[in-house]
């Protein structure tokens, strides 16, 4: 398996080299076209450059995926921390969002610190974070070399099914993964069920400590 990945990376590197050569040659041609006042030619060359740039970016992302991210992520979380998060989310009847960070060791991540964030809208069935505070919290995480590892919120209703992600929840998760976040979602209900979910991110979650029962692969009862 690892040999196959190495061979793929080498092939992609060769393609990348070809793209770089082509990019430089078209850039030179475009400079000539501009110098000669050939506006239409320069325009079409610019479009080719932008296409090459897009291809290069896709290539880099693929290489990055092959090289680094071929391991399933494992999230570790303490039962005490989960109980505290449930308390925090159940404090008010409106929905609220908790950002969660922790430590990262390669493909192992911990969920051990919740971050307070202001909300823009909070109703019993919807919540959105304040945009300015969102920027501040994420920039602070970045400055401290930490990452958003998860985000929790609570749903009204009873039973395990009340913790199913809504289309809004799924859309957020997909957008976060597009942005490169390795963050999973966690949905609680007031009975103490919690379901973890992701879009295409492969992960396992382990809850360490007493008082939390594993119901299913990603579902727990506090």
């Amino acid at each position: 398996m690892e040999n196959n990945i190495a061979a793929c990376c080498a092939s992609l590197e060769a393609v990348n080299y070809g793209f770089n050569k082509k990019y430089k040659s078209i850039l030179t041609q475009m400079e000539c076209s501009i110098a000669n006042g050939q506006r239409n030619k320069a325009q079409s060359e610019l479009e080719i450059l932008m296409t090459i740039a897009d291809c290069k970016r896709a290539l880099n992302q693929t290489q990055s995926l092959l090289r680094k991210d071929n391991h399933k992520l494992i999230y570790y979380c303490g039962s005490w921390f989960l109980r505290n998060c449930l308390k925090e989310l159940a404090k008010i009847k409106e929905e609220s969002i908790l950002y969660i960070t922790g430590l990262n060791f390669g493909s192992i991540r911990t969920l051990d610190q919740s971050l307070n964030i202001k909300h823009e809208i909070q109703t019993t069935s919807y919540a959105s974070v304040d945009k300015q505070d969102n920027r501040n919290v994420l920039a602070t995480l970045n400055r401290n070399g930490q990452h958003l590892n998860a985000y929790f919120h609570a749903h009204p209703g009873y039973g395990i099914n009340a913790t199913m992600p809504s289309p809004t929840d799924e859309e957020l998760q997909i957008d976060l993964e597009k942005g490169g976040y390795k963050a999973i979602g966690g949905i609680f209900n007031r009975e103490g069920y919690v379901r973890f979910f992701s879009g295409s991110l492969e992960y396992e979650i382990e809850v360490i400590g007493k008082g939390v029962e594993k119901i299913d692969e990603n579902i727990f009862k506090i």
Binding site: K131, N134, A139, D175
Partner: protein
């Protein structure tokens, strides 16, 4: 032929627009994701925020010039606002839940006071605790409209704003605003305030 008359010479003298004047490259940092800034997004003079985010596969994100500055507008052209080889910052507002609440529409003062429309005019009453006074507003295309009051109370004649009321016949007076109101409701509110102020002034003089 003199050099100045040679078209080739003149062409060479014209300032050339270099390719680097037409394109810039910017990176995009997604704060808190733990990933390094992506590179190689080409920005041209007509690149908008939305287009750049869409190319970066970050359509629902907002884009900021730095982590401490306010975001660009979605349709804002950013070429002149970014430097070459600079890093921009992308943020996704977290939204969760089943139903996004529809912002509650409060009835405007125009509705609260029961004004109705007939042709180009709105008719209704300026209502104060001292009484209600018939009014009309002529709708206009490019501004809020012209405001009128019928038979304004005599107390208004001793008020500092009486000069803003012009007799138009049949008891109707047009009302001039020093600063045009931004809505019909704001206009109604201003007139009611002047009426209340005139009555209060009259009571204090008694």
């Amino acid at each position: 032929m003199a050099k100045e008359n040679n078209p080739e010479f003149n062409k060479a003298k014209e300032p050339q627009i270099g390719v680097m004047d037409m394109i810039k490259k910017v990176g995009i940092q997604v704060d808190g994701s733990g990933t390094a800034p992506t590179d190689f997004f080409v920005v041209t003079p007509d690149t908008t925020t939305q287009e750049l985010l869409s190319r970066a596969n970050l359509s629902n994100y907002e884009l900021c010039p730095s982590s401490s500055e306010l975001p660009f507008g979605q349709n804002e052209e950013i070429f002149d606002k970014v430097g070459d080889n600079t890093v921009l910052y992308a943020y996704r507002q977290a939204t969760v839940g089943s139903f996004q609440p529809i912002s509650q529409q409060y009835p405007s003062l125009l509705d609260q006071r029961g004004w109705w429309k007939d042709g180009p005019y709105y008719f209704g009453y300026f209502r104060t605790r001292y009484g209600s006074f018939q009014g009309k507003i002529r709708e206009r295309t490019f501004d809020i409209g012209d405001f009128f009051i019928k038979d304004p109370p005599p107390v208004l004649k001793s008020h500092e704003h009486w000069a803003c009321f012009t007799d138009k016949g049949d008891g109707w007076h047009s009302i001039h605003f020093e600063f045009a109101p931004e809505s019909m409701s704001e206009g109604i509110k201003s007139i009611e305030s002047v009426l209340i102020s005139a009555f209060k002034q009259n009571l204090s003089e008694v």
